[in-house]
Every structure is written in C-alpha cells, then in structure tokens.
C-alpha cells in the first residue's frame, strides 16, 4: 500500500527563490485565500456587533471585538420556547455520533473484510448494489425507512437513528475498507488460516491492528457526516434528542426581525468545531489512510 512517508514525487527542488518557486508559492497562496476566505468571514463576522455588520464590509476586521454572539449562539438563542442555544444539542449530538460512528465503521469494516478476503458466491453482487445505493438521494429513502423502522419498532429511538446512519454510511465505507483489505497481501491471510485463526480471529487479531490509517479515514468521514447531518437527525428522533444541527437550523432560520448574522456565524462555527478539531488532529493520518483505501482498486 502506498505510503506517504515516501514523500513527494514531483520534479526536483531547485533554488529557493527560483522563478518556478515564486510562481508555485504564488499560486498556492492565491488558492489558499479562496479556501480561507469563508472561514475568515465567519470568524470576523461572529466577533462583530450587529451595528458594525450593518455598515457593510464583511471582510473588514471587527473594530470592537465582542464575544456576545458566541455566548448567545451557545446558550441564549431561542427556537420557539427554548432559549438555551446550541448547548442543548451538543450532548445530543455526541450521544448520536458516538454509537453511530462506532457501529457504522464496525459494520463497514467487517463488510470490506468479508468482501475482499472471504469472497463467497454473490458477495460482489451485493456490493455492486451497495455502490449503486450510494447514488440514491437520501430524500427518496425517507418514507421506506420510516416504514421499516416502524415495523422493527425502533422508530424515534436513538438506535433507529444509529441504524439509519449505519445504513447510509455503508456504501462508501465498505468501498474504502474493501479496497484497503484487498491491498493486504493475500498470503498473510492464508498464513493466518493455516495458523488456525478463523474469520473473526483473523479480523480482530491480524487485520484490525494493521488498519489504523483506514480506520482514521472512516472515523473522520463518519464523524463529519453524522455530526453535520440534519435530515435524519430531525426526522428519526424526537425534540429532546435533536442533534446540534437542528438547533443550528433553528437559530439560523428563526429570524427575529433582522438576521443576526454574527450569531448565525458563531453558531455555525460552534457546530463545525467538533469535526474541524477531529480533522485538524488526525489530518495527516487521514491522508495516509486515503492513500491506503483509495489507491488500490
């Protein structure tokens, strides 16, 4: 499997201040501005007061820094009768995200493992269906899933939502894990079988310990996806367990007179903080894992 520690492969570096380097860094800098601009706007806006925002320039730094919008977004913004901002949803989001992430990754990892190393008749067909499933818009599936959850009797429970996240995370994650485990030398798997390890023994003792990068990728994808999910969170749970994004939507969409852009931006940043932090912490592993899960097909 590809290893990023091997380092870049492009043309050889030359003098630091060569024309090529000036152009290279120039281009990178300009592109970085495009990518950073929205974050900058969000941060700057969230630190301004409303009068300053009304003056117009969204790119100018705040004259008077105020943290009031953050406080309001976290603890005071109202939806309907509840005026406790995002704080209400934070723990709900954690409670939804943790089991959903664990279960969806566990299922997808086992799928990928079974598909790549224990091929049985028809397995590839199911996988192909799964991949096509990745293209089905979630909206289309809302109704059938409501019915299925109702029939199983877990509609409206946390487990219902966890199940939904597991189902919709399955296609892409299974693809990644399958690709990853396919790149594991087959002889390793054979050796383990000769050594008497069974399906689960090989998975838990041999495969999982050597799959940290791909698990990090799956973790980031799932934390990001599930934490940011609004649709399932609102449809398959009840108000006392609504995730943070529902509150975010409520804050952003409950307009009291004028739109409080500063509060909206603060709320947005607060909501995005968890995936951002996870991403910043394990970003490097993410790239390495992507290399392992996507390069081999």
């Amino acid at each position: 499997m590809a290893d990023l520690t091997k380092g870049p492969r492009g043309a050889k570096p030359r003098k630091i201040l060569s024309r090529r380097n000036i152009m290279l860094y120039g281009i990178l800098f300009v592109i970085s501005v495009y990518y950073l601009l929205p974050l900058y706007v969000m941060v700057v806006t969230s630190l301004k007061g409303m009068p300053e925002i009304r003056l117009g320039n969204i790119f100018s730094p705040p004259v008077e820094i105020t943290f009031q919008p953050w406080v309001k977004a976290w603890a005071q913004a109202c939806t309907g009768l509840n005026c406790d901002g995002l704080s209400r949803g934070f723990w709900n989001s954690v409670q939804i995200t943790v089991p959903s992430v664990i279960l969806s990754i566990a299922v997808a990892a086992v799928n990928g493992y079974a598909l790549s190393l224990w091929k049985f008749r028809g397995a590839e067909t199911f996988f192909a269906i799964l991949i096509v499933g990745a293209f089905i818009p979630y909206q289309v599936m809302i109704y059938p899933i409501v019915i299925i959850l109702r029939e199983i009797g877990i509609y409206g429970t946390l487990w219902g939502l966890v199940l939904v996240h597991t189902i919709f995370g399955m296609p892409i994650l299974t693809l990644l894990f399958r690709n990853y485990f396919s790149s594991v030398p087959e002889e390793l798997f054979k050796a383990a079988r000769v050594d008497g390890a069974g399906f689960w023994g090989i998975f838990l003792r041999i495969m999982v310990p050597m799959s940290l990068p791909i698990f990090v990728v799956a973790l980031i994808l799932q934390v990001t996806g599930i934490w940011n999910d609004f649709l399932f969170g609102v449809i398959y749970t009840r108000p006392d367990t609504y995730p943070m994004t529902v509150q975010l939507n409520n804050i952003v969409n409950s307009v009291q007179g004028v739109k409080e852009y500063n509060v909206n931006m603060a709320a947005t940043l607060l909501t995005g903080l968890v995936p951002l932090i996870i991403y910043f912490i394990s970003g490097k592993l993410f790239v390495r894992g992507i290399a392992a899960g996507a390069v081999k097909g």
């Binding site: 109202c78 409950s254 307009v255």
Partner: protein, 410 residues
C-alpha cells in the same frame, strides 16, 4: 372531571416531588419568529398551569420544513402529543387513516359549535361529522402594511388603497426606498397574488377560481386586472432581496420599504418592534379595496396516543387552547383573531379591531388552503415564484400557466 384530574395531578406531584407526575406533552409547531414564539409561550404557560408540562418541539423554517418531520413521526408510529397544521386539507389524510384523535365529545361538552366563529373554522376540523382538531386563531392574508416613515421621507401621503400605493411607488423609489417589500420564498409571492385576487377582483371571482376551479375564468379577461396588479407588485418589489417574510416586514418597520402585503401575523413583528398602529404604521385590510378577509388559520391536531395519561392530558390541552383567557392572550401576541365570537378584545389595537369588525360583518371568505390541495398550492407557488424572479415572464404567459394549473386542480 378535568379539575379532578388536575387536583389528582397536583396531589401526586406533592406526594412524589422527585418524579414528574405531570404529564409531559410534546407539541410541535413552526412558530419561531419573535411574535410567534411569544404567542406560543402563552399557550405553554396556560397548559403548564394545569399541572402538565408543555414540551416544545419547535422546528424553524416554515411549514414546509416542519411538516415532513411531523408526518414522518406520525406515520412512523412515534407521534408527538399535538402538532400544528394549517387546518384545511393538509391533515385530511392523516385523519382518514385514523391517526388523529376525535374530539367530538369534548367539543360537544364545551359547546364549541356555539362559540367558534366563523363556523367554517370548526367545519374545517370536521370530517364525517367528527371533530379532529382545535382551531386556535384566525389568520387573514389580506393586509397591506405601510410604513408611515417611508412615505413621510418620500414626501407623499400614506396611501389608503392599493392603487394609491402603486401611484406613490415612483416617489418612494426616487428616495431609494423599495416600494414593496417581498420575501423571496414562493409562498409569499403566491400569497400576495391570492390577496390581490380578492382585493382587486372581489370575492366572487376568487370563489370561481379556487372554489369552482373554473379554468375559463382563470384564463379569462376577468382575471386581467389581478394579473396587472401582480405585475405592478413585481416591479415594485424588484429591489427587495430578503428571504424571510419577517425580514421583509422589518424593511417596512425601519422605513426601508414602503409597504408589504402580508397576513395579519406581521402585526406581531410591529408590536415586538414597539410600533403603534396608526402613528408608526398603517394597515389596510383588503388592501383598501375590498374589505374582505379570509378565515384560514392555525389548528392543532392531536395524534392518537397509546398512553392513557397522555391521552387525558391531550384533552386538557385542547380544552386549554379553546379557553377564553388563552385565546385572548395568545391572539394578542400572535396578531391574529380569536376563534371565539364571545370574547372581548377591547385591548386589541386598531388593526385587530378593524379585522374584528370585518369578521363581525361576515365579510369573510375561505382561505385558499381550504379550497385547493397542497399540491395545487405548490404549483401556484412555483409559478408565482418564477414570475416574481424572472421579469421575462409576461403577464399573459403567467395567466395561461395559471389557467392550466386550475384546470387540473383538485
């Protein structure tokens, strides 16, 4: 009986202080703007006072965001205890499917049939002789809200009807004031159209189009002035670039816009902003043309629950919503009219008084929600939304498409 329950409830809560013995009822709705939230708080307060607990399930956005969630929850077998719907045809199928509670008994006991005015409100809650919902307010769409400040700035008198308003538009524009504030959501565009149909065309025309679904009328010359008026509105609103209705209202409040066609719920926003009817803003029911208002409104539906305690509490909530005191408190905040004909609203402001007078005089029509299906409503919304946003669509095109929609309407 209810008082006995209440007493029992109180007793229980004294006896077992650490356990929530009062029944928690989850109520979902999409009332999240300032005035709306204040009004909901009144309902919650009244219900909490019965010893139960109102669990608020507000979903911001609009009915279009919230309704799918509500419908999914009800059909998914995890219903809330009560939920807002615009009464009319939105919830009809849920009722038919037996998912909603029948309040006929309670209504008979409390004599709703005698107190609810106009009776069409209760009729809209009735299916096969049984009552399935509790109307809480009357909302009328047919209002033009004008900013006195904007007209003062422009140096023209505050108009007294739509035609004067159109005539005053150039003066407003000359001062950089947007004549007509209009949110860019489709329902607002379509709402304005329906209002103009009643205001410019009159009640009979409205009923022919939406009641009889007469395609010939919809495509005919009778509707010509209505489409001219909506074309005027389009031009006057060309510079209005806000999304939500209350942002548009805010433009009127701050004098950035001359006026807005919006239902009486806009009043709540003026109130929250501390504005006084007559001095800061002017309201023209029926746009000053035909003083007729529609009597649509909000109603609460109560899904069938398996828990007997919760079911009992549902009755308490229904009864509370219909109670005189609640009606007064709620509607004053909401800016809507109460559903009871037997209450004194002398505390209401000028605009509400005007509405009450029209109501008392019986100058009412059914709301379009009650006459046409949500499907048709969506099609009209789409049409008007495109019309407002694309100046290339001619009045004739728009009318032809409108006639097509009416032809297939249910």
């Amino acid at each position: 009986m209810n008082s006995v329950k209440l007493a029992l409830g109180l007793l229980a809560s004294v006896a077992l202080p650490s356990v929530a013995c009062a029944t928690d009822l989850e109520v979902t709705h999409w009332w999240t703007s300032g005035g709306e939230a204040a009004a909901v708080a009144e309902l919650a307060k009244a219900f909490d006072a019965t010893g139960n607990k109102w669990v608020d399930g507000a979903i911001a956005g609009s009915g279009d965001t919230a309704r799918p969630i509500m419908v999914s929850r009800i059909t998914g077998g995890d219903p809330m205890a009560a939920t807002q719907f615009n009464h009319g045809r939105q919830a009809q199928e849920l009722v038919e499917a037996g998912l909603m509670r029948d309040f006929t008994e309670l209504a008979a006991k409390e004599g709703w049939a005698d107190i609810v005015n106009p009776p069409s409100l209760l009729a809209n809650c009735t299916l096969d002789g049984k009552i399935y919902c509790v109307p809480v307010n009357i909302h009328s769409w047919q209002w033009l809200w004008l900013s006195n400040k904007a007209f003062a700035d422009a140096g023209v008198p505050v108009p007294t009807n739509w035609d004067e308003f159109v005539a005053a538009a150039p003066a407003l524009e000359a001062k950089g004031i947007t004549p007509l504030a209009m949110g860019q959501q489709a329902w607002q565009n379509a709402g304005a159209f329906n209002v103009l149909m009643v205001a410019v065309g009159g009640r009979d025309l409205f009923m022919k189009v939406y009641g009889d679904k007469d395609e010939a009328v919809a495509g005919g010359a009778e509707l010509g002035p209505v489409f001219k008026a909506i074309d005027d509105a389009r031009k006057m609103a060309a510079n209005s670039k806000v999304q939500d209705w209350n942002q548009a209202t805010n433009m009127v409040i701050t004098g950035q816009a001359g006026g807005q066609i919006m239902g009486d719920w806009a009043q709540g926003e003026f109130q929250i902003a501390g504005q006084v009817a007559g001095t800061d803003y002017t309201c023209l029911p029926g746009l000053g043309m035909n003083e007729i208002i529609s009597t649509g409104g909000d109603a609460f539906y109560f899904p069938v629950l398996s828990d007997p305690e919760a079911s009992a509490a549902q009755e308490v909530l229904a009864s509370t919503m219909m109670a005189q005191a609640t009606q007064v408190a709620f509607n004053l905040k909401k800016g809507s009219l109460p559903v009871r004909g037997d209450i004194d609203l002398s505390t209401a402001n000028d605009c509400m008084q005007k509405g009450l007078e029209i109501l008392a005089a019986g100058n009412v029509i059914q709301g379009s929600d009650e006459l046409i299906s949500p499907d048709t409503t969506t099609q009209i919304n789409d049409l008007m939304s495109e019309f407002f946003n694309d100046p290339a669509i001619t009045v004739e095109d728009a009318q032809a498409r409108f006639a097509d929609i009416i032809a297939t309407a249910e």
